[in-house]
């Protein structure tokens, strides 16, 4: 199953087992990690569409700030054995797909996030 489906499932249920086992137990940080990755994948899909339309842009990794606890937790999670660590890695404070992950898989991740991750606005 594509990682984007698992992220969506966690977003809906907040059950960590969907993503595998973590040594991190800060549920708020895990939720921030999941929403940040989903937001990034969704934006990456938009960039794919813009590229298809000939606009000047490019796909980019997710920049992390290692002063933030959730970014440190993400780094720890990626050192462990779980679904996120299977497909993502951090290089120079940027999160991206591992080099061995296929383009088709990455594209599917972006499409799924774009279609399934639609957070609602709270106005006021």
């Amino acid at each position: 199953m594509n990682i984007a489906y698992k992220l969506i499932e966690y977003y809906k249920t907040r059950e960590v087992k969907v993503l595998g086992s973590f040594s991190i137990d800060d549920t708020q940080n895990i939720m921030v990690i999941v929403t940040e990755i989903l937001s990034w994948l969704k934006l990456e899909r938009k960039r794919e569409v813009w590229l298809e339309q000939g606009r000047r842009t490019k796909n980019k990794p997710l920049e992390l700030n290692m002063n933030y606890p959730w970014c440190k937790d993400l780094a720890k999670i990626l050192e462990e054995d779980n679904s996120l660590a299977e497909v993502f890695c951090i290089n120079d404070n940027f999160l991206d797909f591992k080099s061995e992950i296929s383009k088709d898989y990455i594209h599917e991740s972006r499409v799924v996030a774009d279609e399934k991750y639609n957070p609602q606005m709270i106005i006021g």
Partner: protein, 166 residues
């Protein structure tokens, strides 16, 4: 006082401009992000926690000019704040910017704590946000929008749908 929602103080007069590292409010003063957060520190437990969560990157604070705010969200001038998951969007020149952070920050805190969206966006969620804002206004010596929590609840019941959205 205007009818701004989340019940801020309505449209503000005067112009504002984007500064490289901060914001200029309608009173002409310049504010950096850290100055905004410092003002929240120690006023109430909720405002302190919101400032802490923003500093840690768990809540993302976005302060926008009026034109961009209204264009991005398709809202009119009555709306002064929006929350989407752990991200909050506010008007740069709002006269109630500090309170706005507490109000929208409360919605973001609800999200982080796992409160279901149906509750966050309902009367209950709005009342929680207005009460947090009300306590913050009292503790910090800012203009108080409502004279009592009952008055505050009437405002929510009158202006928001019970199950969410206006």
């Amino acid at each position: 006082m205007g009818a701004g929602f989340h019940g801020g103080f309505g449209a503000t007069k005067g112009s504002s401009k984007l500064l490289k590292n901060g914001y200029q409010k309608s009173d002409g003063r310049d504010y950096t992000r850290e100055q905004l957060l410092n003002f929240l520190d120690g006023k109430t437990a909720q405002s302190s926690e919101i400032a802490d969560k923003i500093r840690k990157g768990n809540i993302k604070l976005n302060v926008l000019g009026d034109e961009l705010f209204e264009k991005a969200f398709g809202v009119n001038h009555d709306i002064v704040g929006i929350a989407i998951d752990n991200k909050i969007y506010l008007r740069r020149n709002s006269a109630s910017l500090y309170s706005d952070i507490v109000h929208e920050g409360t919605h973001a805190m609800d999200f982080l704590r796992g409160v279901p969206f149906e509750s966050v966006s309902s009367w209950d969620g709005e009342i929680r946000a207005y009460i947090a804002e009300h306590h913050f206004q009292k503790a910090s010596g800012l203009a108080i929008q409502f004279n009592s929590e009952d008055e505050l609840k009437v405002h929510v019941w009158s202006n928001y749908k019970k199950g969410g959205k206006r």
